[in-house]
């Protein structure tokens, strides 16, 4: 188990290098000239050249990339914003708690509702209940997160006046963003729980337990659900990444000062360093979460553990 964890942690290094290379390349292709952006149009040629050299833009692509990576690895330096001249990492860390809170509450909510829905469906396959639950799940998956957020605002803010449409401190402010963001993951989790649960319920050992006279509830929760949860755990990990991405849209709608709002503003102002740092940071969190999920997975499932021991 220990070897497995070490292996997986070492594996993070090439993945993150690859991610930074991809993100850096994409941003490198961007047409805007950051030097002109900082100095403005009226700067002298000397001043322009001096800043260009100072920022390293006169060097080749590979050198620029290596310098960026060196900064990230050794000094946790994601650069400075071209617009505000603040350190990108600080900008991220200030906003991180809001985004993490939004994504975590959403995944919790999606899991707590999604798994029971999936179990209900799987234990009554092809019944009315199953059809309704699965149809609702699919509708949830098919609704754009931000549209749902707008609908919630129309209903609960404009019409009923129950909930505030912006901010993210009180629980009243949190209900709508969390619900809007969670719906799609809830649908996905319910669908995967159902199919995984149905596979497990088909197994011989379930039939044996039934034949032995074990009660339905015990069979479902003690024998079936525990085994069925394994693929569900993986999906929950992957959904967390989708939620971090989806938070970008949700945050802008509810004016939540998180990474999403930061990135969208940075894109509008062509603040490359912030966009680059933001994508890299989110990919980093996502990779970490999935690492934890995989370790958890190996912990739950001895078959996987044995491959590495």
């Amino acid at each position: 188990m220990f070897r497995y964890i070490v292996k997986r942690i070492l594996w993070l290094i090439p993945i993150l290098l690859g991610v930074s290379f991809i993100v850096f390349t994409i941003m490198y292709l961007s047409p805007g000239d950051p030097v002109t952006m900082i100095l403005g149009e009226g700067a002298t040629e000397e001043a322009y050249q001096a800043l260009r050299t100072q920022m390293g833009f006169d060097q080749s692509f590979i050198v620029q990339f290596l310098n960026y990576v060196r900064g990230v690895v050794f000094d946790f330096d994601l650069g400075r914003s071209y617009v505000s001249n603040r350190v990108v990492l600080d900008e991220i860390l200030v906003r991180l708690p809001n985004t993490i809170r939004l994504a975590s509450w959403s995944i919790l909510f999606a899991t707590l509702i999604g798994i029971p829905l999936g179990v209900i469906s799987a234990t009554r396959p092809y019944s009315k209940v199953d059809n309704v639950v699965m149809f609702i799940s699919l509708v949830g998956v098919s609704m754009p997160t931000f549209w749902q957020a707008l609908l919630l605002i129309i209903l609960f803010t404009s019409t009923l006046g129950w909930l505030p449409a912006s901010g993210f401190t009180s629980w009243q402010q949190m209900i709508m963003p969390v619900f809007a963001l969670a719906t799609s993951s809830m649908g996905t989790i319910a669908r995967i729980t159902r199919s995984s649960m149905m596979d497990v319920l088909d197994q011989d050992y379930i039939r044996t337990s039934e034949a032995k006279g074990v009660s339905d509830g015990r069979v479902i929760f003690q024998h079936a659900l525990r085994n069925a949860l394994i693929p569900v755990v993986t999906v929950i990990g992957l959904q967390f990444g989708a939620l971090l991405g989806g938070a970008v849209l949700t945050e802008t709608i509810f004016s939540i000062n998180g990474l999403g709002t930061m990135m969208v503003n940075a894109i509008r102002t062509r603040d490359t360093m912030v966009v680059q740092g933001g994508v890299l940071f989110i990919a980093f969190i996502f990779t970490l979460v999935n690492l934890c999920v995989d370790i958890l997975y190996a912990y739950i499932d001895p078959r996987i553990r044995s491959q590495y021991d």
């Binding site: 092809y126 754009p144 088909d202 379930i206 989708a242």
Partner: protein, 300 residues
């Protein structure tokens, strides 16, 4: 008890009748019996017709402005109302199907072609090239797809072509993985060995013998892929990374309507409803196809 006896009986029945599993006629037969999948299919056909004949169907032009008619609630002349420039919402929704369907289908084509090549090479040749390709997919997968698309469009600029590339690239790994595992499972079969023994070259084996046998998972994934590509495109449009504002696009429409959300709800309600129905249709069709193709799932 827990297990439906119906499921068991159906499986047994199927084995007895020895239905030719996997043949296209059989899949179509199964699909036709699935009402939800058929709803999806018909709605997609309906959208396609709207997109092609938008000029004939839409009551007003895509860019037709009439400021004196701005922000009208739904009425008899403008069935779904007008926006802040007096443009007809219904007409712009109809024109919007063009962008969404084009982006959805083309983005999936991009990920299918690139992901397909990567998946086939990885699965067929195995070894170091397989490792290399799969690690590349791992890297792409660790960037949330909407973020990757945002970064690409923000950097390259937003036009139709870049939108397609951005969304297409982000689902390359999904297709590569599915096709790779399909290739690996088929490659083990004896008939592949037989054609190798007969001296068929790799290209022939891949195109004549392997790909036709893994078409079904590819088709299912494509249908689902179009659904999520449309969602991504709409999301990009919503944060202002879509096409230029005069072109009718659903996400951009929602973004424009957002400013009037407290007073003119219909600006966000109807375009969003159409997005949802469109995405739902592709998902329903994908679900139906999967059930029809996978004999284990046939139990209605």
């Amino acid at each position: 008890m827990l297990l439906t006896s119906k499921k068991k009986i159906n499986q047994a029945e199927e084995e007895m009748l020895n239905v030719p599993q996997g043949s296209w006629a059989e899949i179509w037969y199964e699909l036709k019996r699935n009402r939800r999948a058929m709803f999806g299919l018909f709605f997609i056909l309906f959208l396609t017709i709207m997109a092609i004949f938008a000029d004939q169907i839409a009551p007003y032009g895509m860019r037709e402005q009439n400021l004196s008619n701005a922000l009208q609630f739904p009425n008899t002349t403008h069935w779904l109302g007008t926006d802040d420039l007096g443009r007809d919402i219904l007409s712009r929704m109809i024109y919007g199907t063009r962008v969404s369907l084009t982006v959805g289908v083309s983005a999936v084509a991009v990920s299918l072609i690139i992901g397909g090549i990567l998946g086939v090479v990885a699965g067929y040749y195995k070894g170091w090239i397989d490792t290399l390709i799969m690690r590349f997919c791992d890297i792409l997968l660790s960037i949330p797809s909407i973020l990757l698309a945002i970064a690409i469009v923000a950097s390259l600029g937003s036009n139709l072509q870049n939108l397609i590339i951005a969304i297409g690239i982000s689902s390359i790994p999904v297709f590569a993985r599915i096709i790779r595992s399909g290739v690996i499972s088929v490659k083990e079969q004896e008939y592949i060995e037989a054609s190798e023994a007969l001296g068929a070259n790799d290209i022939r084996i891949i195109f004549k013998h392997i790909l036709p046998n893994i078409l079904s998972p590819i088709i299912v994934q494509s249908s689902m892929g179009i659904a999520s590509a449309i969602l991504s495109a709409v999301g990009l449009g919503f944060i202002g990374l879509g096409l230029e504002a005069s072109i009718a696009e659903w996400g951009t429409m929602l973004n424009a309507g957002r400013g009037y959300i407290r007073t003119h709800y219909y600006l966000t309600l109807y375009p969003g409803l159409l997005i949802m129905l469109t995405v739902l249709s592709f998902n329903l069709l994908g679900d139906g196809l999967r059930d029809a193709i996978d004999p284990k799932m046939r139990e209605r």
